[in-house]
């Protein structure tokens, strides 16, 4: 029904216009073409002049009305160090082009109005004027030269890559259909190597897990940056073109498959400071959901955003990440909470090429843990432990292990034993008992013998590291002291162990 009405009214409109058009032709035939033409000519001339006045006024008024949303005005001043330069260049360009816009429009429409054909009017044959033409070629040439110089100075400063001795935080953003994946370098400050052929469901960036630089890299959901710290974003595309766009920071650069690009910038306003700024404007003091007075005000809810600015497929419009600019302290607090992607999601899974191998960072972790255990054990002297309290004097050597079924140390065991020998040097009067334990599988006597052999092997190895034999005792306990159930694999695994007990400090 609505469709019918619309169609009918359109048809009616067409008929009306057609009839009016026919009528005017008829009218002009009756009144005399010349007179009608002159009259409509005058009307059109006036209409053009009116259009010009209305247009210019609207442009100025509307621009003023919109200014709080615009580049470099109101609250939307740039939040990066280089952004101010660009906003300034924008304003200079706006100044010159604004003058040209107004002057040429006034000239165009006023001259059209002024020299419209009226009764008896004639044109003047004026074909050229060399002086005038030279002048008005020179003026744009001079203005353009100025804008080019100003623009290129800004461009080459903004786009310059970092210098080798710059203190800079390098992070990485990878665009794919349809999200940005962020990667931070972790404690080593360096991003690990990657290869697109290594990309799998659990390795979204194709990181090379044989590269130790990858071990501490982490993948946060939000882009956090410390304020006033220079950042170099390495920009990568995994499938098609994307564009890394931070509108508040005047940052944009395409992500190109096979060709890493970069953008260097320094955020200068924290998210909090930006919110503060917005809170001064009434349009940001309305509720996010106008129907819900409990919803946050717009400025309270403000966040910097990362977008995609290069058409990349059907969900191009939804590649949003939140960006947070925070103080140095907040940033460090956030950093300490981030967990390495490798250690969290890959380590010792089937996809880990280092599976079963002890990695450098783990050796260090183990050393720290062992030292910590001894620190606690050695401090706690004299006072008998309360009932049920953990026995601090007994320390499990989790990383001392044997080839299955025998008493040959695995090669990785040497790290913890080396750490232990260092500890023995630190506490020269300490004496320890090395205890071998097995699970309950098999014959108890065989198990006891095996555990004795294993304890002896550990003792012998420590002696080769220079520990005096008198400080070491080796005891095989067999299956007599389980610390967990022997009914499950995990429990039995725990029960097969090497322990030490401090018998004298």
């Amino acid at each position: 029904m609505t469709a019918l009405i619309i169609i009918l009214s359109i048809a009616l409109l067409v008929i009306v216009i057609l009839q009016i058009s026919k009528l005017t032709e008829l009218y002009s035939r009756i009144r005399g073409e010349e007179e009608v033409e002159l009259r409509s000519n005058r009307n059109q001339g006036r209409a053009l002049l009116l259009f010009m006045i209305g247009f210019l006024i609207l442009v100025v008024v509307y621009t003023y009305w919109m200014k709080n949303y615009l580049l470099g005005y109101g609250p939307h001043k740039s939040a990066s160090a280089h952004g101010g330069t660009l906003d300034g260049l924008f304003n200079v360009t706006l100044f010159f082009t604004g003058i040209v816009f107004v002057v040429t429009h006034i000239a165009l429409f006023y001259l059209a109005y002024r020299y419209k054909k009226v009764k008896g009017s004639k044109a003047t044959h004026w074909s050229h004027n060399n002086t005038l033409e030279i002048v008005w070629s020179a003026i744009p040439a001079v203005v353009m030269t100025y804008l080019v110089i100003k623009g290129l100075l800004a461009w080459n400063t903004v786009m310059a890559d970092i210098k080798p001795d710059d203190s800079v935080l390098e992070i990485e953003a990878t665009g794919y259909q349809f999200a940005w994946h962020l990667r931070y370098p972790g404690a080593d400050g360096v991003l690990g190597a990657r290869d697109y052929k290594k990309v799998t469901a659990d390795n979204p960036l194709g990181q090379d897990w044989t590269d130790p630089k990858n071990f501490d890299d982490f993948h946060p959901d939000e882009l956090w940056l410390p304020v006033n710290k220079k950042v170099r974003v390495r920009i990568i595309a995994r499938d098609v073109l994307h564009s890394f766009f931070l509108p508040h920071f005047r940052v944009k650069m395409d992500a190109v498959p096979g060709l890493p690009t970069y953008f260097v910038f320094t955020p200068t306003k924290t998210t909090e400071e930006y919110r503060e700024e917005l809170s001064k404007y009434p349009e940001y003091n309305v509720h996010k959901d106008p129907n819900d007075p409990t919803s946050p005000l717009l400025w309270e809810d403000f966040n910097y955003e990362l977008a995609c600015a290069e058409l990349c497929g059907k969900s191009h419009y939804s590649m949003r990440r939140i960006v947070r600019i925070v103080s140095e302290d907040e940033y460090n607090a956030w950093l300490s909470k981030q967990q390495s992607y490798y250690q969290n999601s890959i380590r010792n899974k089937d996809s880990d090429p280092n599976k079963g191998k002890l990695l450098g960072f783990e050796i260090k972790q183990n050393r720290d843990a062992l030292n910590f255990s001894f620190d606690k054990a050695m401090v706690d002297t004299g006072i008998p432990p309360a009932a049920g309290a953990p026995d601090l004097k007994t320390i499990r050597l989790d990383f001392v292990q044997f080839e299955p079924g025998g008493s040959v140390l695995t090669s990785d065991s040497k790290y913890q034993l080396a750490d232990l020998s260092e500890i023995m040097k630190k506490y020269p009067t300490m004496r320890i008992e090395l205890g071998g334990h097995t699970d309950s599988t098999g014959d108890p006597v065989v198990n006891k013998n095996l555990s004795q052999q294993r304890a002896d092997v550990v003792k012998a190895y420590l002696i080769t590291l220079g520990v005096n034999t008198s400080r070491l005792t080796a005891v095989g306990y067999g299956q007599t002291k389980p610390i967990d159930t022997n009914d499950t694999d995990a429990g039995r695994q725990k029960n097969r162990r090497t322990e030490l007990r401090i018998i004298a400090q």
């Binding site: 057609l18 009016i20 032709e25 409509s40 000519n41 059109q44 259009f51 247009f55 442009v59 509307y62 919109m66 949303y69 580049l71 660009l86 924008f90 360009t93 010159f96 040209v100 816009f101 040429t104 165009l108 001259l111 059209a112 020299y115 054909k117 044109a123 003047t124 044959h125 004026w126 004027n129 005038l132 033409e133 008005w136 070629s137 353009m144 804008l147 080019v148 623009g151 290129l152 461009w155 080459n156 903004v158 794919y176 259909q177 697109y196 995994r238 499938d239 098609v240 073109l241 508040h248 005047r250 944009k252 190109v256 096979g258 060709l259 995609c308 600015a309 497929g313 059907k314 419009y317």
Partner: protein
Amino acid sequence: MSESQHDETDVLIREQGYDDHFHDHPHGDKYQSNFITHYIFSQDHKIIARQFLITGIFWAIVGASMSIIFRLQLGFPDDSVAWLKPLLGKWITVNDAGIGSLNPDFYYALVTMHGTIIVFFVLTAGLSGTFANLLIPFQVGARDMASPFLNMLSYWFFFLASVVMFISLFLNTGPFSGGWTAYPPLSALPEASSGSGAGMTMWLVSLTLFVVSVLLGGINYVTTVLNLRTKGMSLWRMPLTVWALLVTAILGILSFPVLVSGFFLLMFDRGMGTSFYLSEIFVNGHALENVGGSPILYQHLFWFLGHPEVYIIILPAMGLVSEVMSVHSRKPIFGYKAMVYSILAIGFLSFLVWAHHMFMSGVNPFISNFFVIFTLIIAVPSAVKVFNWISTLYKGNIRFTSAMLFAIGFVSMFISGGLTGVFLGNSALDIQLHDTYFIVAHFHIVMGIAAFFGMFAGVYHWFPRMYGRFMNETMGRIHFWITMVGAYAIFWPMHYMGMAGVPRRYYRFDTFDAFSHFHGLNQFITIAAIIVFGAQLLFVFNFFYSIWKGKKMTTQNPWGANTLEWTAPIQPIHGNWPGKLPTVHRWAYDYSKEGADKDFIQQHMPMTEKEKAEGEDHG
């Protein structure tokens, strides 16, 4: 040919210029009299011009309708478009509540097709195809194009391209949806987007056919202008339309082949496993073997055409506007020579600025320095043209016909759109403005609306020459005023959205807080677009109505213009002029000359003794 015939021909050439009809009687239309050879496979430039124009109008309606559909999505993203389901079928998903929404894939297909269709089929074929065909032979005083047969092929290759593109709209996987620039890898990988499958294949085939059309036409236009000018029509006496169309044709010949080479490499990447544009891609769950290619290479090849293309679009419009302004101001175009040199300078510089589309695409920032310089240099000849148009009005005797109104509107649009180009041409500002609504506003105003205005000026002005009747002026003026006000209403506010950072090619804006401030504005733009679209339908109605019912042309030269097309008979004939070709004695702009009895002196009127003594009047 015997010796004596040869001498005779030489004498004739000297006397009359090159002409294949060295005898007095007109051919009329006799030799191609049946319907098919006259109206369909015609080799007559006037018929071919009409074919280009009407095909262009068809495509303009299709392209504009698409923009209305995606504007509805942008203005009213949460309103139901279930009523479009009969037209768009599976691309409208209707949920349980009966709310129909536009499929994002198809939204991007509409955006892509809108761009492709308007840029290539309407503003290249429809604009320069129409007016180069109509005006070049007429205004240089030739019987027809140098090769009427190639000229016919040029239209039919365009027709084939149109058919292929049109069919692609109905593919099950949808038409191509990766943007009119068709950047790989998106355009190369069907895995990345459903429109990059069969839709992209047909897109490439269609545009390759289209380039064949442009080249056949272009070679013809250049040859005709350089070789078939009538006696006395020196280059410096050619109307600016012909200059503009000549440079346009040269730009097309030099740049379109580069685009095709880019397309071929893309076809190889798509079908033959090469890696010109592909490198290190993981898509749809697997890593591709391709390494070593560069997507940026495609961008270079594309924009090596793509930038001259915008001048291929705007130069003919400039030529038409110059002519229309001069005729209806009853004044010579101001600074004729400066206008010609500006056209040449713009044409030359248009080949040196292509990478300004690529400042943020990962090219070495150092390279951008050169492109910034050349880009902003092009502002100088453009500014000269604007000043000259404005000065043409000064002390004129202006008749505000629909054609003249559109010509004035063109200058306004060209100023507004050109000035925003000064922002975008500066790479430092492009960091923020690239791929935002600022650039959407810029190029729609400067090469979309402005080129359409030039085209409208041309159609209103030369309609009598094409059909022997006038278009209705009342409807023409209604069309002008709605379009003028409406076009600014649509595109002016987009500058502000762009300055706020709103990216182009977004399906909806509420996914980002930063881009969601402009809901009311988007609705306003959509409503304005619908009204302006209605006004264009009025134009189309006026066009077809006037072909059969328009006021008849009763005099040969209704506008009092100087150029040669208005010396030909009212009822067009094959060969354009009965008897000898007109001989040219003066430039095209002797309007309101002192001492003349009328306010115009046509080009074929001999110079008076006094004029000879003063020498030719040139800009």
